[in-house]
């Protein structure tokens, strides 16, 4: 691993309402800020094991994600190092075969685990809304979460983000938050509910 590489990683599925939180925070970060060359910003989507190479190259990783902590909806929470695997282990990183714990275990087996692991998480309010965007309460946490990421970068790593001048974005415009949310078909045209069995017991909006 390189000595000072930092990865800011947003994960989640933008097609399932608040599940897209991590990706949306990263999108806002990328849209508005430029970061020094040793800091990379990655929209991890729902990739599991495929994120391994990116994690391996980093000395420190800041993850932004929607995680069920059993807290009131839209609560932001910051976790560090040893607290991380336990929480992320309560569910898969994504829909994927590989839980985050398993990725961490692989990193350890390869002796390439990041030295520092930080998570900025939000308690989702609603997930069972296929094709939906962030709920208003969770959407209101995008700015505070972005501020938290910038604060972590500054305080932990002395990294200063500067306002973006060039326009080179990484989210395809069609699925940028605004286009995605405003272009949604009506509930009548497109069923929005998920499977009651898997969603049973999930937080409801």
């Amino acid at each position: 691993m390189d000595d000072d590489r930092i990865l800011v990683l947003g994960i989640g599925n933008i097609l399932w309402a608040d599940e897209g939180f991590g990706v949306r925070v990263i999108e806002a970060l990328d849209e508005r800020y430029e970061l020094p060359g040793h800091v990379s910003v990655l929209d991890g989507g729902t990739q599991g094991l495929y994120l391994l190479p990116h994690l391996e190259d980093a000395a420190a990783v800041i993850i932004v994600d929607a995680i069920d902590y059993g807290l009131p909806p839209a609560t932001l929470k910051l976790l560090r190092d040893d607290e991380v695997p336990a929480v992320l282990g309560t569910r898969k990183v994504s829909l994927h075969q590989t839980g985050f714990q398993e990725i961490l275990a692989l990193l350890r087996l390869r002796e390439r685990a990041p030295r520092q692991l930080l998570v900025v998480g939000v308690q989702p309010e609603r997930l069972d809304d296929y094709g939906g965007g962030l709920t208003p309460a969770v959407a209101a946490q995008v700015e505070p979460a972005l501020a938290a990421v910038l604060r972590l970068l500054a305080e932990e790593f002395g990294v200063v983000a500067t306002p973006r001048r060039s326009r080179e974005r990484f989210t395809a415009p069609a699925i940028s938050r605004q286009d995605y949310e405003t272009g949604r078909p009506s509930a009548q045209a497109a069923c929005r509910v998920g499977d009651a069995r898997v969603l049973a017991g999930r937080p409801r909006g």
């Binding site: 097609l15 829909l95 080179e168 078909p185 999930r202």
Partner: protein
């Protein structure tokens, strides 16, 4: 009770019922129930996709040029193939011909994806169905070194010291109590047959594979702008070519980058040749007595065909498509994804409805309907939110049941390899005959392709051979790309029809791809510049779908039939065979596991 299915399987539901939910190490959510007889042989199998899929409906009304970006988000591993199928469908509808450079770059990207996906699947999702990492601790590294030199003599990492180092690392890892990735195995189950030295070789390559998978995806970053989620574009590829340009970020493709791509393609070629294919053959030779899991592949297989040698000429497909029925390899039926009578989806046993009176109807994807109707059958046990046992006589899956002219077919690398072998594709014939020769020599057997291919092992072997074939083909694509650029062609996109004002009022198209898990098709209807209907028929729908109105069982269910289980409470054999399909239910499923449990939950009743 015994039921004879029209496609030749005898189902008996009288024995003990075993429920595996979730099936782990797959993409998405899946449940499997089987009945075993008094000898613990599987006599009935039920495959259930446990999540609603809603992709199609959220695309309604969107810009067709944007569809690829949405479909890329369905799933974490199939991103590129959905995006490719999507741009192909739109280009087909609008009759857009892409430049040759764009064709070649897409070909390279598709084959890189195929290679990458197959390698990751084998080492990280499937190997632990054959390989026992705990047993690897008992290996003599010298014996592993000898085995390595016998089965893969061209691989440089083969010294006893190298294997000893890996073993020590593994030992430290296991002793630290961080079993992590290995903790949920059934490591004392006699279904594991490898000697310790083979286990150590495979675990070592499991770690090496991580290095290769990490390098090859850089090709996607170069051509697609980024990875994960590379960019696609209707009409071509979103990268420009300036062969003498510099290496600044976001700059067009230059020679230095292209040389880097070539290096990565060559590394991939070496790895599949010297490690992946030899590993599969070696592991298979220790399982020579375990030729189960063929199911439908011995009867009916299907693929649309892909990898044109000459752009725009389907007849030059290097993995040609078609359909084989009833195991008759002498006759390959042509397939036409546009014909309303060929590909049809049924929902008799799926949690969807086509409306009253149309329950048993089959719909071609252009006319497809995705309307959920979640209802359990009268014999289901449990509740709507906590099913104890599925009633397969009623609706029982979120996956639809696609059929080709009413026939259940298997899709995937094995289907493609049977089709290519039957159609006399020289490269494939050479690969199959050579690897089978090596297998027979190691195992002391004399199996023919017709005996060995339609099995769980054959499915796993076909995937490895296909990965290597892709590596071979993409090196050729690369040379063609360079030659084309050097001849002065710099074009990467055809934007003549970018403006919707140039489109017809209504249009429809289909895009097919040889995706890692099998034939993938996207069907689109465009009206007034917007998406009117969009249907994806994904490989796992073909393989994992439920029964059809006539009672034909699909590939997953058929593959489990008549397989003996060592211990019914430990579903090693079920997982092994299901994993050999590389199931990906993500296209059909949602993200959240209710409790995050990693272990397959097994209930015997």
């Amino acid at each position: 009770m015994t039921i004879q299915t029209p496609n030749g399987f005898t189902l008996d539901t009288s024995g003990k019922r075993i429920v595996v939910d979730p099936v782990t190490r797959i993409e998405g959510h899946m449940r499997c129930e089987v009945n075993v007889d008094s000898d613990n042989v599987i006599r009935n199998a039920v495959s259930t996709g446990t999540m609603w899929r809603g992709l199609e409906v959220i695309l309604k009304g969107r810009d067709p040029r944007d569809a690829w970006a949405f479909v890329e988000r369905i799933c974490g591993v199939c991103t590129g193939c959905h995006a490719l199928a999507s741009v192909r469908a739109v280009e087909d509808a609008l009759q857009i011909k892409i430049p040759n450079n764009a064709f070649l770059i897409r070909e390279i990207m598709a084959k890189v994806l195929q290679w990458h996906d197959h390698v990751v699947h084998f080492y990280h999702l499937h190997a632990l169905d054959w390989v026992n990492p705990i047993n690897a601790l008992k290996a003599d590294p010298k014996a592993t070194s000898q085995l390595q030199q016998m089965v893969g003599p061209d691989h440089p990492n083969s010294s006893p010291g190298y294997f000893r180092d890996v073993q020590n690392r593994l030992k430290k890892f296991v002793e630290s109590g961080q079993l992590g990735l290995f903790k949920n195995g059934y490591w004392d189950n006699p279904a594991y047959k490898l000697p310790p030295e083979a286990d150590l070789m495979a675990v070592t390559h499991y770690l090496e594979a991580l290095d290769f998978q990490k390098e090859i995806v850089k090709v996607h970053t170069i051509f697609g702008g980024k990875n994960p989620h590379p960019n696609y574009m209707v009409g071509g590829v979103p990268c420009a070519i300036n062969i003498d340009g510099d290496m600044a970020a976001g700059a067009p493709l230059n020679m230095e980058r292209l040389n880097f791509v070539k290096l990565k393609l060559q590394e991939a070629f070496e790895f599949s040749k010297n490690v992946y294919v030899p590993d599969v053959i070696a592991i298979a030779s220790f399982y020579k007595g375990w030729l189960y899991g063929g199911g439908l592949s011995g009867l009916n297989v299907m693929d649309y065909g892909d990898y044109e040698a000459i752009q725009g000429q389907k007849s030059t497909d290097r993995l040609p498509g078609g359909v084989i029925l009833n195991g008759n390899w002498a006759e390959v039926h042509p397939i036409d994804p546009r014909d309303p009578e060929q590909v049809q989806e049924f929902v008799t046993h799926s949690w969807y409805t086509y409306g009253d009176g149309d329950a048993d109807k089959g719909l071609h994807p252009w006319d497809g309907v995705t309307e959920p109707q979640y209802k359990l059958g009268p014999d289901a046990k449990g509740t709507r939110t906590d099913i104890q046992q599925i009633d397969e006589n009623a609706k029982y899956s979120w996956i639809k049941a696609p059929r080709w002219k009413g026939n259940a077919v298997e899709v995937g690398p094995l289907a493609r390899y049977i089709l290519a072998y039957a159609q006399g594709v020289d490269y494939v014939k050479g690969q199959v005959d050579d690897s089978l020769g090596r297998f027979n020599a190691l195992a002391g057997t004399s199996f023919t392709p017709k005996q060995a291919l339609p099995t769980t092992i054959g499915r796993t072997l076909a995937r490895a051979l296909e990965a290597h074939y892709c590596a071979e083909m993409m090196l050729g694509d690369f040379d063609n790309l360079i030659a084309n650029i050097k001849a002065g062609d710099r074009s990467t996109a055809n934007v003549e029809k970018w403006d919707p004002a140039t489109w017809p009022k209504e249009a429809r198209g289909v895009g097919t791809v040889a995706a890692p898990r099998g034939g993938l098709g996207h069907w689109i209807k465009i009206k007034d510049g917007r998406i009117e209907n969009y249907q994806c028929v994904v490989p796992t729908t073909w393989n994992g779908g439920p029964r059809d109105p006539k009672g034909n069982i699909g590939a997953f269910e058929a593959s489990l039939m008549n397989t003996p289980m060592e211990r019914p409470e430990e579903p090693v054999e079920i997982l092994r065979t299901l994993h050999s399909f590389d199931p990906c239910l993500a296209c059909s499923t949602h993200v959240i596991s209710p409790d995050g449990e990693e272990m397959a939950r097994v209930t015997v009743r």
